[in-house]
């Protein structure tokens, strides 16, 4: 067998094994909307952990983080920080959010806004922003899958056929399995990825330099500027680091899928415990960074940094091992991508289409429409992945600038009685609009500060200022009643 055949067979076997486990998990359960989207709200600590780890450690962590360590250097370290701080932040509102979710039967992030603020238009807007932000994140996973297959086939299979095949597989998988299937495939995915990350993080420096220490010593000697901020970039310095870490750690659980994952838990305490364990898990990323930094010395001058990790793995290890790394990478893209598809489709069917176009739809019809939307979303992201190109990290940061704008509305909505619907809506619209304007006009970062973070600050000022000054909206009584119901839950 040729190296490419060995490698692709290994990847195929791993993906088939993972998918089979997912299908088995979904069999013999009636898939109503509640079961399909939030797993019947019965996941214990272990399953919630698996689901959350499953959706957090995506191709972004695998290829994107190493790609940035290779092409940008020091600024890539923000990834280690934000993943840790995101859990620290989550500890203080996710359990309370779960409580509210159970009391009011929420399944999506848009449900939260509908219930807390009683405004259909606000909920609809949240829904649209959420779906739009998913598209770059989905595109990231599909691009990652394309990279894996084309490197693993030694260039034999093009990126476009590889990505198309991946999308078909994804849609079929989400269609059949729902959220429970996804959580169980995460078991295989995480085990493999942990193994692959440690093996390459230690193995690559060992083979080429005799260890991690000698590798960094050589890098510090030859490219000392690469290891600190701003590394190989002109404007990603300390101000960028602090602002990006704040934006992404506050925005982390504002991703509609992460938000919805909180509702799968059996209790609020499950989520608290989850927040303690997850940071340790992000240590895996340190190993991926070792491999990414080693690539700077081994394969200098590659135009696309996202390819660096796999190219070095191909040079260092036998084909079957590249197959294992590729298979782990493929599942690492597929598991989160199926969660994104599931969440975006549910958001569209349940929170946008039903309330605005067909209020009489039953839950079963919503579930069917959601399944149809899975295919549409898959296709749209495939198109984008084929026709546009961007580094994996910048795709993710684009999405973050959007979803982070939900943060003031969520957290103040939970804890602050005085927050007003008008202020939240205005802040959200202004935040999203200013993030879009700054990014489209290439002003990210602006004066060395992340554009999404500036937009978030503006958003906060409007929400807090607007609520304190408060133009009367004519719905004060209802607003006060809702605020009272929420705040009294946590006293």
């Amino acid at each position: 067998m040729s190296p490419a055949a060995i490698c692709l067979t290994t990847i195929g076997a791993i993906v088939a094994f993972g998918t089979a486990i997912g299908f088995l998990a979904g069999v013999r359960r009636r898939m109503d909307l509640e079961q399909w989207t939030v797993g019947g709200r019965g996941f214990g600590t272990l399953l919630v952990f698996l689901l959350m780890a499953g959706e957090v450690y995506t191709t972004f962590a695998f290829l994107g983080a190493s790609g940035w360590a290779y092409s940008r250097g020091g600024p890539a370290l923000y990834v280690l920080t934000y993943l840790t701080l995101a859990y620290v932040v989550s500890f203080f509102f996710l359990p309370q959010l779960w409580e509210a979710g159970r009391r009011y039967g929420m399944q999506t992030e848009s449900d939260f806004f509908a219930v807390r603020y009683g405004n259909r238009h606000l909920a609809g807007f949240v829904c649209i922003v959420g779906i739009v932000c998913f598209i770059p994140y989905l595109q990231l996973q599909i691009t990652g899958l394309g990279i894996i297959v084309s490197v693993a086939s030694f260039g034999g299979i093009g990126r476009v056929p590889a990505m198309s095949f991946a999308v078909v597989l994804l849609v079929a998988f989400v269609f059949a399995g729902g959220v429970r299937a996804v959580a169980w495939v995460s078991v295989v995915k995480d085990a493999l990825m942990l193994l692959a990350a440690v093996a390459i993080g230690i193995g690559i420096p060992l083979v080429h330099f005799g260890g991690i220490g000698p590798m960094f010593a050589q890098l510090a000697h030859e490219h000392p500027a690469h290891l600190t901020m701003p590394g190989a970039t002109a404007n990603l310095g300390h101000a960028w680091y602090v602002s990006t870490v704040l934006l992404t750690s506050l925005g982390f659980y504002m991703w509609p899928h992460a938000f919805a994952a909180a509702f799968t838990a059996r209790s609020g305490d499950t989520l608290r415990r989850n927040a303690l364990v997850m940071p340790i898990y992000s240590l895996t990323l340190a190993f991926i960074f070792f491999a990414g930094f080693a690539s700077v010395l081994i394969v200098p001058g590659m135009a696309n940094g996202d390819l660096a990790l796999l190219t070095v793995v191909r040079q260092t290890f036998p084909p079957w091992f590249l197959g294992i790394v590729g298979g782990a990478g493929a599942l690492t893209a597929m598991v989160p991508a199926s969660i994104f598809l599931l969440t975006a489709a549910t958001l569209f069917a349940k929170n946008l289409f039903r309330p605005l176009c067909a209020p009489a739809m039953s839950d079963d019809q919503v579930a069917r429409l959601a399944r149809a939307m899975v295919a549409v979303m898959g296709l749209v992201s495939l198109m984008l992945a084929v026709f546009t190109s961007s580094t994996l990290v910048s795709l993710l940061l684009t999405g973050y600038a959007g979803v982070a704008q939900f943060f003031p509305g969520v957290v103040l909505g939970l804890y602050w009685r005085r927050v007003s619907t008008t202020a939240v809506f205005t802040g959200l619209v202004v935040g999203v609009a200013s993030a879009v304007v700054l990014m489209v006009s290439h002003h990210d970062p602006l004066f060395g500060v992340s554009a999404g973070f500036l937009a978030l600050c503006l958003n906060f000022v409007i929400v807090i200022g607007g609520s304190l000054l408060g133009a009367p909206s004519g719905h004060e009584r209802e607003e006060r009643v809702r605020a009272e119901q929420f705040a009294s839950m946590f006293e």
Partner: protein, 72 residues
């Protein structure tokens, strides 16, 4: 489930100070310890310590919750 307490919040401030706001103080290569550049080692150590901070915060929060549950 109650609102977060001030004690737990202040425990959470520590990871933010050490890993985020203080970046100009630790973003350098030397001294290299355990073969790692200083900034990377600093972050790795604080990932573990953050988890420890949150464990303390967890103890604080569950201690507050328990008597309330008994009273219900």
């Amino acid at each position: 489930m109650k609102k977060p307490s001030a004690a737990a919040l202040s425990l959470a401030l520590l990871p933010f100070l050490t890993m985020c706001f203080s970046v100009p103080l630790w973003d350098r290569i030397h001294p290299m310890l355990l073969g790692l550049p200083f900034n990377m080692l600093w972050l790795i150590v604080w990932i573990v310590l953050s988890s420890l901070c949150m464990w303390c915060a967890y103890r604080v929060e569950t201690a507050r919750d328990t008597p309330a549950r008994r009273g219900r």
